[in-house]
Amino acid sequence: MYESLLNFPGSLFADVERLQRELQQSFGAVGQPSSIRAVASGTFPSINVGSTPGSVEIYVFAPGVDPSKLDVQIDRGVLTLSGERDSAVPTGEERLALYASERFAGRFRRTVSLPEDADPEQVTANYRDGVLHISVSRRESAQPKRIEIK
């Protein structure tokens, strides 16, 4: 709940979170590294990455995007996902009052660094319920194998 409340104007916890961040900078862990490709929290679309012994699973939460406008590319171990979402708010209508426009509209691009054993030839992608699920299999030779003792 914290993360989504942060980016709303006048959100309940914005001040508390800001104070916490300032305190952390003075007293907290200084010099902790973050990913060089890290983005601000709340960037559209949100991404979750999971790992299984045989694959890397990436979930991109991008509701209301036309799958034909989604572009997924893998280049030198970096998966880049880009696309565009049109705004659903009508413009130019008479007597239209806009109360909230929190949903993202426009172009977006996210990148995910894949591990060395990820095989770019074995990728599947499905878009369902607004979530793009990308599965990248790991190379066969890199997977843990059980060795039989005869």
């Binding site: 709940m1 993360e3 989504s4 409340l5 709303f8 929290s41 679309p45 949100s46 991404i47 979750n48 990455v49 999971g50 790992s51 299984t52 012994p53 694959s55 890397v56 699973e57 979930y59 939460f61 991008a62 509701p63 209301g64 995007v65 659903a88 708010v89 009508p90 209508e93 008479e94 007597r95 239209l96 009052a97 806009l98 109360y99 909230a100 426009s101 929190e102 949903r103 993202f104 499905n126 878009y127 369902r128 319920d129 607004g130 979530v131 699920h133």
Partner: protein, 125 residues
Amino acid sequence: MNDKQEVTKVEPKNDAPALLPRVDVFEDGTGITLLADLPGVPKDKLVLRVEGDTLQVEGEITPTTPGNMEAVYAELRLPRYLRAFTLSSELDTEKIEAQFKDGVLRLRIPKHAYAQPRKIEVKVT
């Protein structure tokens, strides 16, 4: 396409942590339109509730995760969305229309017939 609307009198409050879905809300002469981002919620896990003058949107996220998956990096950490709105009396909650596609909920809440803008003819005698 209409979604079922549940009107309940007494409902135990579910205080489990939930994400606030982002919404677009705009009003024209005949009613209010609400769009909400609820990615990861299948149609059968979306619940819309109208209690008196409160509209509640709730959705449970059910992703297709393989059983042996370990989370490496997560920006979305809570398993449900929940957001509520108070509606004003000129909105006709009996006639709410809902569409849910690709994780985007679109609600249309029309105003009562008596509240819709009407031009009054001024006759000159």
